[in-house]
Point group: C2
């Protein structure tokens, strides 16, 4: 269906696998030995066929220089650490240890290349009216909040996700759910990040 023969598909699969495992492309001789070819030329022939069919791009004369076209077209990818959960409702502190990673291209997030970001898993439903749900992953950026931003804030010793509001020049935190009260800081209000994107995976 894809225009590749069975053998060519096998070679391509091996290259993808090897590239994922090692981070580098196999050389023609590595392909030869993996498939048990008696001659390196066999591998070269398949690479040429794969190039002709657009499955790889080869940079002539250079070593291990096969490239998958989709990787060239791809926008730059950033790896955003996920720092556990954040309460959007109940009292609970956000954990500090890294809990996995989220990799996504920067153009889809619409953030600058330089942005310092992290991610949190939302627990609770105090932000549902802002369409942030329990289980969503919110992507936060380190920066100063503007009014109306959704922020991760440390308020009087607790970390929560709320809307940042100014009243008479004083900031407070607003829940987006009528069942939850607004939070006016008694002492200090530390903004840990501003929400720049949201990812929801199907349950």
């Amino acid at each position: 269906m894809s225009g590749l023969t069975k053998r060519q598909q096998e070679i391509l699969d091996y290259m993808k696998m090897a590239h994922r495992e090692t981070g580098i492309m196999p050389s023609t001789r590595e392909i030869q030995h993996y498939f048990g070819f008696a001659s390196q030329t066999a591998a070269v022939g398949h690479l040429r066929a794969l190039e002709r069919k657009g499955m790889i791009v080869r940079l002539p004369g250079k070593a291990r220089a096969s490239v998958f076209p989709e990787e060239l077209e791809r926008a730059e990818i950033i790896d955003i650490p996920i720092y556990g959960n954040i309460a959007a409702g109940m009292a609970q502190d956000s954990e500090q240890q890294k809990d996995g990673c989220l990799s996504i291209d920067i153009t889809s997030l619409g953030i600058p290349h330089t942005a310092r970001t992290f991610a949190l898993k939302v627990r609770g439903d105090s932000m549902v009216n802002a369409h942030v749900c329990d289980g969503d992953t919110v992507i936060m950026e380190f920066r100063d909040p503007k009014r109306g931003d959704i922020v991760a804030a440390l308020i009087d010793g607790e970390t929560t996700l709320k809307t940042y509001v100014l009243k008479d020049g004083k900031p407070y935190l607003q829940a987006e759910n009528d069942d939850y009260p607004d939070l006016i800081p008694a002492r200090e209000l530390i903004i840990q990040g501003v929400m720049v994107a949201l990812l929801r995976a199907a349950a």
Copy 2:
């Protein structure tokens, strides 16, 4: 701050840039010439320093075999084509041409490796009660819908995003906004995909 000297940071930046441009890592001699070193050994020394500081991993004896550790740890990344807009409200047909691409690791989406996916930009607010908003990007999978799934459907010649509901064994489409009516198919109901994830970028 990161423990790298200025020169080492420059080398690392060049390697990242070259890797993004060409898809392959520069060789030690390419690094040498780019920086105008008189000797290739200079580049080798810097690579060794970068390896010692954990910025790259080198596979000994192999050509162009420096790897960025984050790329090794990263889960597999899929490229999801974005097929323009889909109405969630107004009558409007979804365009067919590819309109950019979304690259994200599969574990964050929670979908199987084999899933056939595409993405659509949501227009309209008929799904706000399901917390799908105007401007969101929804990631769809080609598969048969279950009741309650949010689906992209072609109903009587129009494509929309709605909840898939069964009533007396017959499927119809339900808007998640009281201002919009349910859609009962007059003739045919073709499901184009089931929503598996959602991405919202800050405006």
